[in-house]
Symmetry: C2
Subunit: 418 residues, 2 copies
C-alpha cells in the first residue's frame, strides 16, 4: 500500500504507513507484534495517535482538510501540518528542552511523527484545573518564549533571513484568518458561533459588543496581528498547548505559527493563566479552598513576565554586536542608549502582551471556543460568577494597558477584581 | 540575435531587442528607418532609453546587476525590475491617470517597456528648483496615494489576498535593505558613505549621531518599515520619482516597492516638498525672491495631506461594507464608531507620515544621497544656511511628531523655523 496521495489514516492503515516509513518503523525497532496504537486527538482539528512498542514510541499527528469537531462543512487546509512541522523544527532548534522532537514529516499525507510525551505529562490546563503546582513552569516557558521570539526577530537576524521566512509563513493564511475571526472579530459582533454562560452573562456579552472604546482598541491589536511580522510566534500558546510534569514543560501544536507580534504568544500564555486564576473559586471545595493555589498562579504570572524580560534582554545584550539588523552596534552601542532603547522596546512589548492577553481572555468567555477551566464548573451560576470578573479585568486591561508599568500592577489589579 | 539570457543592452542591441519583441515593435509601427534612441538614465541605478519613431514611442528601462553610478563593486539584484514592473502594473490598475502604462516586461533581461512621458514632462524636483507652480500636483498625488494605499491595504482586501502579495514582495529584500541602510542607519552613525556640506554642517551631522532621543525614535520607525506590511508602498516616493507638466502628474520608478507602512510614501513626498521649500532661499535672485513660490509649496504640502485625508477616508466610507477585513461592518458600522476608528487610524498615519518624512529629510542632508534642490546651490555657505533649518525642523518633527494634531501645525512650524 503506497501513500502517494492524501488519505485519512485509521488504526489499520497507520500500521501500513509506519511499515512504509523507516524513520518511524526504526523508532519501534521494526517490531509490529506488540504495537499499541491509541487515538487521543481531543477532537478540535486533527487526529493524534500514540504509538508504543517495547522498543520505543512516538506520536502521529495527521491534519485533515476540515475541522474535525465540525465536519467537512468547515474546510480547513491540511497544509497547516506543514507549518506546524516547520515551526516545531525551528522552535525545537532554538529551544530543544521545551519542544518535542520531530522524527518525520510527510507533506502529502499531512503527517507529523514526533516524540511521545509519556506520562505523567498532562496538558497544563488540566493540571491547573486539578490545582497542581508546577514549580518550574515560569522558568521553562519564559525560556521557550525568550529563545524562540528573540532568535526569530530582527534583533538577532538579518532582513534577508527575516523576509525569507516571513514570506514562507504567509502561506499559513487560513489559520491566521481563523484567529482573526475567533479572537478579534466574533466576540465583538453578533455571531452564530458565539456562546456565553446564559442567561447570566447575556448582558455582559452584549456590553462587549456595545463598547466602542473596546472595539477601537481591539482594531489596533488586530492590525498588529495581521500586519506586524515581528517574530515567528507559536500563534496559539494557551495552556492547552503546553504539556507538563513537575520537571518538564513541552510546547506543542504550533499549527497557527506565523510571523506576528511577540506579544501575541506571551499574552496568550499569561491571559490563560489569568483565566485559570479566576476559575479556581469554581473548583474550590471543603477540602481545598484553592487560596494557596491562586497565590501560586499569581506568582507564576509575575515570574513568567519577569523571567521573560530578564532572559530576552540577556539574549539581546549577549548578541548586541551580532548580525541582527534592528539595532546596529554602530548606532546603539553606547550603554545608556542601549538601555534606553531596550526599556522602550520591552515596555511596548509589555503593553502588546496585556492587550493580546486580554483579547484572548475575552474570546474564551463570550466567543466560540471556551476553556475547560470554566466549562468544568458545572453549576452555571457559579461559573458565571467566575467568568464575570475575568471578563471585566480583560476589558479593563485591553482598554487601559498603556497605563500599566509593571507586572506587579497587573497582579494587583487581578487581586482587586475578584 | 536571441535574448535568452541576461545581457546589458546598448543602442545597437536594443534595436535588435525591439525587433524581436512584437509588443514593442508594434508600438513604432514596425518601422525602424526613422528610429531615434537616446539614453537618459540619470545614472544612479539603471539604463533608460527613449525610443521614438514617427509612428509611436516608448521608454526602455533596464536594470543591471549592480549600482550603475558606483559600478560592479556594488552589486544590486536586477530582479528589482520584476518588482518595479509588478508595482507599476498594480498601481497603474488602481490609478491609471498617474502611472505610466507598462507595455512589456522581460524578467530574464530585466527590461521594462513603458509609456514615454513626452515633453513638457519634467522631473518634479527640477520643476521645484526652477520655481514652477503645478496647480494640480496636490490633487493628483493625493489621488495616487489614496487609491494605491487604500486598495492594497486590509481596509479593502481580505487577509488571503494581502498575505499572498506580502509574500511576493518579500522577494524585493535587497532594495528594502538599501533603504534601511541609507535612511534609518547610516545618517546615525559614522559611515564612509555619509556626506554633508562641510565644514559648515560638520557639527550638525555629529549632533545627529549623538542625539539619543532621535536614535530611539528612528529605531521605532525602522521597525515599522521592516515589520509592518500595511500596504503596497512605492518605497521611494520623493520628488525625483514624479514627472509633471501643469496638467499631468506621473509617478515612476517604484523599484523599491514592497508591503510597508503607508506613512513611508506620504512622508517621502511631503518631506521632499519641505526640502524644496528650504532650498528656495538658495535659488532666490534679484529677479525672483521666491517668496510667492515658498507660499505655494506650503499650500501644496497642506493640500497634499488634506486631500489625501479626504480621498482616503472617502474610499473607506464607500467600501466600508465591502470585503476588507480590517474593520468588519458587523462591528464598526455604527456611524460614531466608524468615525472614531477612522480618526484614530488617520491620526496614527499622520504621525507615521511626519516621522518617515523627517527621516527622509535627514538622510538627504547628512547621508549618502543628497538632493539637487540643495546640491544645485553652488555656494556652500549659502547651501548650509538652507540645509541647517531643514535639518533642525526634521529632527524636531521626528522626535515630537506625536504632538502634532494637524498639517496646519506642521506648516506653522516650517514657517517659524527659517
Amino acid at each position: 500500500m503506497a501513500f502517494t496521495e492524501f488519505r485519512t489514516l485509521d488504526e489499520k492503515s497507520l500500521v501500513e504507513y509506519i511499515k512504509a516509513t523507516p524513520a518511524l518503523s526504526d523508532k519501534i525497532g521494526n517490531n509490529f507484534d506488540d504495537l499499541k496504537i491509541k487515538e487521543v486527538g481531543d477532537g478540535n482539528l486533527n487526529f493524534v495517535y500514540i504509538v508504543v512498542s517495547p522498543a520505543g514510541s512516538f506520536v502521529i499527528k495527521q491534519a485533515i482538510p476540515y475541522v474535525r469537531c465540525i465536519g467537512e462543512s468547515w474546510p480547513m487546509t491540511k497544509e497547516r501540518a506543514y507549518f506546524e512541522a516547520l515551526a516545531l523544527r525551528e522552535h525545537g532548534r532554538l529551544c530543544p528542552e521545551n519542544v518535542p522532537e520531530v522524527y518525520h514529516f510527510d507533506r502529502t499525507m499531512s503527517v507529523i511523527g514526533m516524540r511521545y510525551l509519556e506520562p505523567p505529562h498532562i496538558i497544563l490546563r488540566k493540571g491547573l484545573i486539578a490545582g497542581i503546582e508546577y514549580p518550574l513552569l515560569a522558568e521553562h516557558i519564559s525560556d521557550y518564549m525568550a529563545k524562540t521570539l528573540y532568535h526569530t526577530s530582527l534583533l538577532y537576524r538579518t532582513t534577508t533571513e527575516h523576509k525569507h521566512d516571513v514570506a514562507e509563513f504567509c502561506g499559513n493564511v487560513e489559520l491566521c484568518r481563523l484567529t482573526e475571526q475567533v479572537v478579534f472579530s466574533d466576540p465583538y459582533k453578533v455571531s452564530d458561533f458565539n456562546r456565553c454562560t446564559s442567561p447570566y452573562l447575556d448582558h455582559d456579552a452584549e456590553a462587549v459588543r456595545e463598547d466602542d472604546i473596546l472595539k477601537l482598541e481591539v482594531a489596533e491589536l488586530k492590525s498588529k496581528f495581521c500586519e506586524r511580522a515581528q517574530a515567528l510566534v507559536h500563534g496559539d500558546l494557551h495552556t492547552g498547548s503546553v504539556m507538563v510534569t513537575r520537571e518538564s514543560t513541552q510546547v506543542i501544536d504550533p499549527e497557527f505559527a506565523f510571523y506576528g507580534p511577540m506579544g501575541f504568544d506571551i499574552g496568550a500564555f499569561i491571559g490563560n493563566l489569568i483565566l485559570a486564576f479566576y476559575a479556581q473559586d469554581g473548583h474550590a471545595d471543603q477540602g481545598n479552598d484553592r487560596k494557596t493555589y491562586k497565590e501560586w498562579i499569581l506568582r507564576t504570572i509575575k515570574e513568567t513576565w519577569s523571567l521573560f524580560y530578564k532572559k530576552f534582554t540577556a539574549l539581546w545584550d549577549e548578541h548586541k554586536d551580532g548580525s541582527g539588523e534592528a539595532y546596529l552596534p554602530g548606532i546603539y552601542n553606547k550603554p545608556e542608549l542601549h538601555q534606553l532603547v531596550q526599556r522602550k522596546f520591552m515596555q511596548d512589548l509589555f503593553h502588546d502582551t496585556l492587550g493580546f492577553g486580554a483579547a484572548k481572555m475575552i474570546r474564551r468567555i463570550v466567543g466560540v471556543a471556551h476553556v475547560e477551566d470554566f466549562e468544568s464548573i458545572t453549576d452555571a451560576s457559579k461559573r458565571a460568577q467566575c467568568e464575570r470578573p475575568a471578563l471585566n479585568l480583560a476589558k479593563m486591561l485591553l482598554k487601559e494597558r498603556r497605563n500599566f508599568q509593571s507586572i506587579d500592577e497587573v497582579v494587583s489589579a487581578i487581586q482587586q477584581l475578584q
